[in-house]
């Protein structure tokens, strides 16, 4: 009887050890305070709607003098990585959302690539003085974050600011921002 009890304890211990060793550990996964794809979708949707609704754009007609927008990649002043393809990708989606809203046709707006990008694609006939549409405005974005970090957590409050700049006067024609905040908790084993 006593032996059976000892065996039981041993079996129980082995079971606990096996369960801990085999089944108790989940695969680690990425869980950061970085901006996500969902943020990119939300921010570009919001910003394109905001720009379209701005008085400067909404008051324009197809017969207004043409505005030519050039776009640069996002300037990253946050505390997280953002690679070039992401920086361009955000602006590309912004432009696509604007194009989809017919802003080009209804508000007499044209988009051009930044000069360096254009040169890359059209090296043979690149002539900045003549051939290229002269930009009148620049659409730009700058991301910043307020980052708080400690051993047990990290929090990033993002301000993703977008601007439409009049290149002749330097006046900011339109400005809006997307804000979001992320926080992750770390345990002492992290």
């Amino acid at each position: 009887m006593r032996h059976r009890g000892i065996k039981g304890w041993i079996a129980c211990a082995v079971g606990v050890f096996a369960a801990l060793g085999a089944g108790g550990c989940a695969a680690p996964r990425v869980n950061t305070t970085m901006l996500t794809t969902a943020d990119v979708v939300r921010m570009t949707d919001q910003m394109s709607a905001s720009l379209n609704a701005s008085p400067e754009i909404a008051s324009r007609t197809p017969d207004s003098p043409r505005w030519v927008f050039t776009m640069d990649r996002v300037a990253n002043r946050t505390e997280h990585l953002l690679d070039d393809s992401e920086k361009w990708g955000i602006m590309a989606r912004f432009r696509v959302r604007l194009t989809a809203s017919n802003v080009a046709r209804d508000r007499a707006v044209a988009f051009v690539l930044p000069a360096a990008e254009w040169e890359r694609y059209a090296r043979e006939f690149y002539d900045p003085a003549q051939a290229r549409l002269r930009p009148t405005h620049a659409l730009r974005a700058e991301f910043r974050s307020d980052t708080r970090s400690a051993i047990g957590s990290r929090a990033d409050a993002y301000l993703c600011a977008f601007q439409l700049l009049d290149l002749e006067t330097g006046r900011i024609v339109w400005e809006d921002a997307y804000e979001t905040k992320y926080r992750v908790l770390r345990n002492s084993f992290d």
Partner: protein, 440 residues
Amino acid sequence: MRTPRRDNLKARAAAAALLAGCVLGACAADRAAQEGVGAFYAGDFASAAVAFRPGAERRPFDENSILNSARLGMAELAAGRAQSAVRPLGTAYQLLESGSVNDEGRILAATVLQEGVRVYKGEPFEQAMTYTALAWANALRGDWENVRVCARSAVRRLADYQNALGNKSRPGAPETDFALGYFLEGLANAALNEPDLSALDRAASLNAALAPHAERVRARDFNAVIVIEAGRGPEKEAYGEDNAQTRWAALDSGPGTARIEMLTPPGSAPDASGLAAAADVNRMSEVHRWNNLQDARSFKSGLGSVLVVGGAGTAVVSEDKGAQIAGISAAAAGLLMKALSSADVRHNELLPAEVFVAVLKVPEGGADVRVSLGAASRLDIPGVRPGTPSSPSVVYARVVPRPRLAARAVTSWGEAERLRRHDADIEAERVWNDLSGGPP
């Protein structure tokens, strides 16, 4: 015809095969990693990358994903493939920045069973050096925004751990002593035309050797950055009863001194700023540590000893059969506990012993640059081209110590055949001259 007994046998066989597969798989991965380390320190960085790739690209992630990704990225960087280095180092960055990569089951298993099931993140200084490697890779690609992110991440990580240990810096003083991190941040800010260059002051205040370079960056009187990572970083080893304690052992003290000079135009004097010893990784391993499981291991080891002694004594002294069995069981449990109390000594073997940095003003026509490491070795970098303060040329070289020969108690610095560069910055031919035995 299926029978329950045969099913039972099949299930046991399958379980055994699975267990054997896991054990063999782990052994194979470990062997591949060791082959990679061997290739790396033989100067064959490309083969090292091949060896590390399967472990780094395994999905879903496992407890060694960060380690293997960092190893792969560093091998790719040393092999001159900055673009290929960014991806694995970026994966390591994301996992290092992730919260709760160790779930409750893993924490319990690491505490009660074996520490090796814990997801490796490395000691704080290893994390900082992983961020730094990603910074170099981004600098080689001209992505100074991400260089700044990596530099600040390295500093922040070290500061977080320091603060958690109660070693908070004085108000106004730098958050940590990682001068290289501050220097990189300042360099990136200068390249990005940012007005705030205060990180350069912090770097100079922490490491006087960086001061002339910081001044040159501040004055925007530079157009090239030379980075030399030399030697083999420290090794984590277990010691003490049941190997429950850990310490870092310096395998290589690095070249110690370094000099840089431009060979062209002929008659150029050695660069007055020299080549600054920006980071001593052996020293970092002594200072920036995080030993949160050491107490648990010591407890397990002690309890195991008590169980072994008590159980064995009971088994010997008692005449009661039940007590004898209980004593033997306790002794066996104690032995198991002692065996499981050994420390996890996983570490990144590819870290350098020392990091040297110089910012230079290369003449318009380019220059051949000579780097002298220690007393007897030198590295010639032909055709370094000038960049601009906003887009400086970057040269990165990983120099490994030649394998020591038993017959010669000499540390010679050898064969950096994969000396690499910014794709647009340097012409193809790269030469390593070892004055202790190589060509003149």
